[in-house]
């Protein structure tokens, strides 16, 4: 028993993914703590556990996604709950400050971090909080975390889902599914920007391409166009808007379908195309603008993803990333776009833990590094 505990990394177990916009943090809360362990546990470790598990919000901007919690999970021989927490990257200095205040460095844990911020903030962690980061590649972590979460499932349910009848808004329904045989898959990670990977096995993948038109673009443009401040606000507005007041459709130009090229009249011909006219600019609502921004960005990602899938000859397209959080407009649009433009050849898949796989992957690295010395 003692031998095993020696091989295990010291608590607390964290995995961290510091992105361009959001920091994703996963925290493993052991529930199988023995009385002996409890006694040995230092005070600040206890206080961290209590602080994280008894709150759902941290400061002004930190949030625990309670609905995503993975309960009674066994990791590295320990049973516990996996908590999913996020806060804006802008709050990173305050987070590091807190690490210093709580004397995190005395816990002798390794802080596994991925995402660009692992590099950007490495020095701040060291100088401000006396913490050494174990920096990990974000794409490695993403794939590892994704495969792990899919394997363990979502508290007895599948992690993965797709939309049945994506082309029909009436009968389009979300359906759970499993990624039993996941390879090859095209993995589209939509964070601030977008990375598209062709994944052939856990360790064999390539980054096919990426685009700078991602979640950050949606939010950035929405803020400029509508004065909103948060992703939630932007999505809320988008859900109420009508993009056809902003976008020029094929039928706006051709009066109907453009038959010569098989384009439906309802297809968008020019995103924001109506906004070339002053009268239309003056009469447009913020909600319509937010919706148009969302639709533009989503369709574009769908279009690039589809082309990559065809070029790489991969039929399964998995969309992840925090852009898809609480964003059924986009998930349904992507499902529709994959299905429609590929004439049913491609299937869009989504995962419940959208943006957290990088952080999970980082945590797994922590458990792995200490397992094989």
């Amino acid at each position: 028993m003692k031998l095993i505990t020696e091989k295990k990394p010291a608590f607390p177990w964290f995995g961290m993914d510091i992105g361009g916009t959001l920091v994703k943090l996963v925290y493993f809360e052991p529930v199988d703590i023995t009385a002996e362990e409890e006694q040995e546990e230092v005070e600040n470790l206890k206080s961290i556990r209590r602080y994280l598990t008894s709150n759902v919000a941290y400061g002004k901007t930190g949030v625990r996604d309670v609905h995503l919690e993975l309960r009674n999970l066994t990791m590295c021989g320990r049973t516990g709950n996996l908590h999913f927490i996020r806060f804006p990257t802008q709050a990173m200095p305050r987070f590091i400050q807190m690490g210093r205040d709580k004397n995190f460095s005395s816990l002798h844990t390794t802080l596994c971090a991925t995402g660009g911020g692992a590099y950007k903030f490495e020095n701040d962690f060291r100088t401000m909080a006396d913490l050494e980061l174990l920096k990990l590649d974000e794409l490695d972590c993403l794939i590892r975390g994704l495969l792990f979460v899919d394997r363990v499932g979502f508290n007895g349910h599948p992690e993965c889902y797709y939309f049945q009848n994506p082309s029909d808004t009436q009968s389009c329904v979300k359906k759970p599914c499993t990624l039993d045989n996941p390879f090859p898959m095209l993995l589209v990670n939509i964070g601030s920007g977008v990375s598209i990977l062709a994944v052939y096995s856990e360790n064999n993948y390539k980054r096919v391409t990426g685009t700078s038109l991602g979640g950050g673009t949606f939010l950035g443009l929405c803020c400029l166009l509508t004065g909103c401040e948060t992703f939630e606000e932007a999505l809320e507005m988008a859900s109420k808007g009508d993009s056809t007041n902003v976008d020029k459709l094929v039928k706006d130009i051709y009066g109907g379908d453009y038959e010569r090229f098989g384009l439906q009249g309802s297809a968008v011909a020019s995103s924001f195309g109506h906004m070339m006219s002053k009268e239309k600019r003056d009469s447009i609502s913020k909600e319509d603008l937010a919706r148009a921004t969302l639709v533009t960005i989503t369709n574009n990602i769908g279009s690039i993803a589809r082309m990559c899938a065809v070029n790489e000859k991969i039929e399964r397209v998995v969309f992840v990333g925090n852009f898809l959080r609480i964003n059924t407009v986009s998930t349904k649009l992507l499902a529709y776009a994959m299905d429609f433009w590929s004439k049913g050849q491609l299937r869009a898949l989504f995962l419940e833990h959208e943006g957290y796989f990088g952080a999970v992957g980082a945590l797994m690295e922590l458990l792995k590094t200490t397992e094989d010395p």
Binding site: G19, G20, T21, G115, G116, G117, Y119, K120, F121, E122, D137, G191, S192, G193, R207, T209, T211, S212, L213, G214, G215, G216, T217, L219, G220, L221, C222, C223, L224, L225, G227, E229, V246, D247, K248, I253, R260, F261, G262, V268, A269, S270, S271, F272, G273, H274, M275, M276, K278, R281, L289, T296, N299, N300, S303, I304, M307, C308, V310, N311
Partner: protein, 783 residues
């Protein structure tokens, strides 16, 4: 002649004069003969196309009947100037604001009324349908926009050399023109209008829209207007060119603190467009937002274009549409994006006449019964505006083009043109030796040179029409026109594609023709031919007295000395005009002694000791001593060896170059004196063909179809190119699949200096194609 006197008295023209900087009679030229109209109305610009006929003077030669007693003249042939009607396509581009005045003008000047229909395309066609029908009384017939675009694109790619270019913002010359590949298909056309259409074009009639994007010019404009409160597209581009996108975009280094080394993504790469603007507590400048938007859209389009190019395995990708239309800012960002996404494997190509594609296509749709695609067409440099310089860095105000009209004129060529089948690699063949667009020193020299020569050209033009009192006035107009062209080319060397000595010469010919000076040298050529013919028999006789080896050398020297007689070269025309006694023998003495500047005479002589060539194709140069005393004896020797000879001369006049018409008469006269020539003609072993060109230079990729056919049928195994224009300014580096001989005397001291020689240095370049002997010409050698 177009009588434009009515213009001033026309009430509508007064309103035009106020708004248009060019006089309308210069814009809507040849309107009285116009038929078949087409119009392409875009968001801000209208492009009008019409087909018209141009009556202009051509010089014809006609042989006197020398058997008849009354032919007292000692002249060989008579020269007459005749009226000829040729077909011309006119394209005019102007702002939509002028549509109404332009339509009025057309209506008042349209004499020919058998036209009932006007083909129309473009997004604005329906908006102005009623106006056009009411003003012109023509029925508007709408044509599909994309079909017109593709048709127009095929047309310019086939008919206009140097149509496509690569844009390189920081290079010495921004525009790098592409050589004309005879095989234009397949290609990808990415049309960036308000949205983006990506079309794969496989043949004249086969094309398919393989994809597109809604993020296009309309997105830039619409979103840009919302973000910056700037209404006009051009102003938005102006803003963008001054902005810094890094304050708005989230870069890789903003996330990583540096580069993402593991993936090789540099720190400056945009990770998230507008990623920094997701904050309420910062203000962003209009310029920065516009720049960020421009990058976002250009990169996105570039990425999609690359994905489609890769999927369909296409390497030629042309970009067009109002987003691109001559805007250096967008050409630069699109080029950058394509380079980034394909790692340089695909080049973004742009078109000089991109704005006209729709109008050209619509016109072609309406003119199908005339079979315009059966003909070859040529850009008329005299009547075309050329590509504008629109670099906002250079001159921000130049973009404000309001009130200016842009024109393109294309002449229907009498002959269909094609490649010389003996080119080693037609797709990489570049006729011109020096690209003056890229060589600033050479450009300056030649522009000065042509400017200095202008007085002489004007003088000679007037002298060529002594019976016409108004010739002086026309010559003066010619001078103004050509001087203006030279001025344009000084500022915008790229206006008509790559600037070359050839294009300068051709532009001059076009301008001369424009003012009805079809052949200023006709009388000089006539006189020279007369004189030279008198010495022919004597020259041949003296050659026959030489030993074989002496004769071969004398023949070559004869061709070279004959080539010194060239009114086109400045140094020579000076001597000739001051000293008419400058004779053939004197010319020989002027020649450089061997070893010549380029000298492969020994190899040539060795070759002559071997078996005779099957057939020699000889591109001849000047009239007079050159052709009669230099070339003909040389040809005679080839014929005597058993080699068939095809003499290729210009279809139309250019300087003192011998034309096909003149050469036919000359050959007949020589045949009458010389049984060898006589026999060869009657046995069809000596053939005269026309080159299809009216240029003092030679473009082997645009030759008369008949010439190409004859060259192939005769199994030509030797190509001889003579003279500075054809063998030095052009074709000096041309690689042929058979043996070739390039002979010229350098009659320009600057050029001689450049080539490391001096005035009257000799280039004698005999080449045998590399590789296994006979392999390349296997198809041409009888087995």
């Amino acid at each position: 002649m177009a009588e434009c006197g009515g213009v001033d008295s026309n009430p509508s023209s007064h309103t035009m004069d106020k708004s248009i900087t060019l006089p309308p009679d210069e814009i809507f030229r040849n309107l009285e003969n116009a038929k078949r109209f087409a119009i392409d109305i875009g968001g801000s610009l209208t492009k009008l196309a019409y087909y018209s006929t141009v009556q202009h003077k051509v010089a014809k030669v006609r042989s006197f009947d020398h058997t008849a007693k009354e032919a007292a003249s000692d002249k060989l042939y008579e020269i007459s100037v005749q009226e000829e009607v040729t077909a011309r396509l006119h394209f005019i581009k102007f702002e939509n604001a002028y549509i109404e005045t332009c339509l009025d003008f057309i209506k008042d000047h349209l004499v020919n009324t058998d036209t009932k229909v006007i083909k129309a395309t473009g997004g604005g066609a329906h908006k102005f349908k009623e106006l056009i029908e009411r003003k012109l009384g023509l029925k508007v017939d709408k044509e599909d926009e994309m079909t017109c675009l593709i048709k127009g694109c095929n047309f310019v790619l086939k008919n206009i050399p140097h149509e496509a270019f690569v844009y390189a913002k920081h290079a010495d010359s921004e525009f790098r023109f592409q050589t004309t590949n005879p095989d234009i298909f397949p290609y990808l056309l990415v049309n960036i209008g308000s949205g983006v259409s990506i079309v794969k074009v496989e043949s004249e009639d086969k094309f398919e829209r393989i994809g597109g994007s809604s993020i296009g010019g309309g997105t830039f404009w619409g979103l840009g207007a919302l973000l910056t409160k700037t209404k006009r597209f051009d102003e938005l581009l102006q803003l963008a060119s001054k902005g810094q996108h890094t304050s708005v975009d989230m870069l890789v280094k903003d996330i990583y603190g540096g580069s993402y080394g593991y993936l090789g993504l540099t720190g400056d790469l945009i990770a998230s467009s507008f990623g920094k603007s997701a904050t309420a507590d910062k203000e962003f400048s209009k310029e920065d937002m516009a720049k960020s938007l421009l990058h976002m859209i250009s990169n996105d389009i570039g990425q999609l274009a690359c994905l489609y190019a890769k999927l369909h395995n296409l390497s030629r990708v042309y970009f067009g549409g109002f987003f691109i239309r001559g805007h250096p800012v967008t050409m630069h960002t699109i080029t950058y994006s394509i380079n980034f996404f394909t790692k340089g494997e695909v080049q973004a190509l742009f078109l000089r006449h991109e704005g006209y594609l729709g109008a050209i296509g619509a016109f072609l749709k309406g003119a199908e019964e005339d079979n315009p695609n059966q003909y070859s067409w040529g850009e008329n440099y005299a009547g075309s505006s050329g590509l504008m310089s629109v670099s906002p860095d250079m001159n921000p105000m130049q973009r404000a083009r309001s009130g200016t009209f842009d024109m393109l004129e294309m002449d229907r060529l009498e002959r269909q043109l094609m490649n010389l089948p003996l080119l080693q690699d037609p797709s990489s063949y570049i006729p011109d030796t020096v690209d003056l667009t890229e060589d600033a020193l050479a450009r300056e020299y030649w522009l000065d040179c042509f400017e200095e020569a202008l007085d002489g050209v004007v003088k000679r033009a007037v002298a060529s029409q002594p019976d016409m009192p108004e010739a002086a006035l026309r010559a003066e107009k010619f001078r103004q026109k050509y001087r203006h062209k030279l001025q344009t080319l000084r500022n915008q060397p790229f206006a008509y594609g790559s600037l070359t000595v050839r294009s300068l010469l051709d532009t001059r010919e076009h301008c001369l023709n424009e003012f009805n000076f079809p052949d200023p040298y006709s009388k000089i050529k006539q006189r020279e031919n007369d004189v030279a013919l008198k010495y022919y028999q004597k020259a041949v006789k003296s050659l026959e007295e030489l030993s074989w080896e002496e004769r071969q050398f004398a023949l070559v020297r004869g061709v070279l000395a004959g080539n010194v007689f060239d009114w086109g070269a400045k140094a020579v025309s000076d001597v000739l005009e001051s000293d008419p006694e400058f004779g053939f023998e004197q010319a020989k003495r002027q020649l450089e002694e061997r070893p010549w500047l380029v000298d492969s005479y020994d190899q040539w002589l060795e070759r002559l000791k071997g078996p005779p060539h099957k057939c020699a194709l000889f591109f001849v140069d000047n009239s007079g001593v050159d052709i009669i005393l230099g070339v003909m004896p040389f040809v005679r020797e080839l014929l005597s060896r058993g080699t068939e000879v095809v003499l290729a001369s210009n279809s139309g006049p250019a300087l003192n170059d011998v034309t096909n018409g003149e050469l036919q008469i000359l050959t007949e006269r020589i045949a009458a004196m010389d049984p060898v020539i006589q026999a060869s003609l009657s046995e069809d072993r000596l053939t005269l063909v026309q080159s299809g060109s009216s240029s003092p230079c030679l473009d082997l990729s645009r030759l008369d179809k008949v010439l190409a056919m004859v060259a192939r049928e005769r199994q030509t195994d030797l190509v001889i190119i003579e003279g500075m224009g054809r063998a030095i300014h052009t074709n000096y580096y041309a690689m042929l699949s058979c043996e070739s001989l390039k002979m010229a005397v350098i009659k320009n001291s600057w050029l001689a200096d450049r080539l490391g020689g001096k005035l009257f240095s000799v280039v004698f370049k005999y080449e045998v194609p590399a590789g296994k002997p006979g392999q390349d010409s296997a198809a041409l050698t009888p087995s």
